[in-house]
Symmetry: C2
Subunit: 216 residues, 2 copies
């Protein structure tokens, strides 16, 4: 069991006032979409006046960027940790798929805003977020390619496989329902198995699946 509490918080390092505002904005964007949520809605959800929101120097566009950047950084950190903790492409891809899918379940409202409101970001904000997405994608591609090079995966189209693997994780945020029959860890485990099979791994069940069940 590893300590995950400090890194399981996407708002880590945010002061209490900002956190309250970001969480209110997130709830409003998740419920009504970025364009459907007003600054007034967000202020009300945060228990602030609209003037209080501006006192934080935050426009609606700034709030979306703060949420999108925090979410993307957090998901990337989760993926980087998964790669660091495992040895060899099969174990690393299993860990990446597990933790990325579980993240999209555990933080499903954050993930929805982060993944579905890219077009609403201002160009400068979007550039920052696109770079974080590129780095996340790169992690997956590099480990899938390493597995192909090492002969543990058999796929002739690493780009399509990378796209499909990321897509599976992202779409969890659309369908996941808290309290439903599937848990974040359960989703992570079954998706890891399906992806290893998709990649043509010889023995997807080779290493113990409970290895990554430590509360992520």
């Amino acid at each position: 069991m590893r300590a995950t509490m400090d890194t399981d918080d996407p708002w880590d390092g945010t002061g209490p006032g900002s956190r309250r505002l970001l969480e209110a904005a997130l709830a409003a964007f998740a419920a009504r979409g970025y364009h459907g949520a007003s600054t007034r809605d967000i202020a009300a959800a945060a228990g602030m006046s609209p003037a209080g929101v501006y006192a934080h120097h935050r426009t609606k566009a700034d709030l979306l960027f703060a949420i999108s950047e925090a979410g993307h950084r957090h998901a990337l950190a989760v993926c980087e940790r998964a790669v660091e903790e495992e040895i060899g492409p099969l174990a690393r891809v299993r860990a990446l798929v597990h933790d990325y899918a579980a993240w999209h379940a555990r933080h499903h409202l954050l993930a929805r805003v982060v993944q579905y409101e890219l077009d609403a970001l201002l160009p400068d904000h979007r550039a920052v977020v696109v770079d974080l997405r590129r780095r996340t994608e790169q992690l997956f591609r590099q480990e899938i390619q390493a597995g192909v090079d090492a002969g543990v995966f058999r796929t002739d189209d690493v780009d399509s496989a990378t796209l499909a693997v990321l897509s599976l994780g992202i779409d969890v945020s659309r369908w996941y329902t808290p309290g439903g029959p599937r848990t974040p860890v359960g989703i992570g485990r079954s998706y890891a198995g399906l992806v290893l099979s998709m990649l043509g791994a010889d023995s997807p069940a080779a290493a113990p699946p409970q290895e990554r069940a430590s509360g992520r």
Copy 2:
């Protein structure tokens, strides 16, 4: 080559006035989300006055339902045709994955509204749409299960595999960009191969992939 023009139109059977309004509402919902699009926006996009919209007896909620129902019925019809045209679970699952993924690319704006605005539907409308979704899901599950029963697929969790396969198709509508490097048919073909591998099919490349390249 089969004739697909008549069934490739999700608004088939809709009169010209309704079609113009539905297409305008779809564009507005896709651009700003259901909650972010006003009836005034929709009327303007359709070249009508707001009163003209009401003359069609359409509220914003009715328009969303009409779009969602048409989109779900069209996707289901595409899946039903894929199953009817092929023999055996491997060919049928390949066709289902191909045509479902290609549909989500070809009709990506419609698909986004259909897939991401479920929570915005009124309860009675939602019930109709949920039933169409259940029938689509059932088609996939039944063919995957048939493949397991026949020994052509090896997966010990048909529910998770069905979820993952549908999820891959649906998420195409999020990332697909017209004019980008991937075409609807190209996506369909590579996803069909990846899914057959995911399901543990012995020889995913057994049948000619160009079989389903006929313009879908």
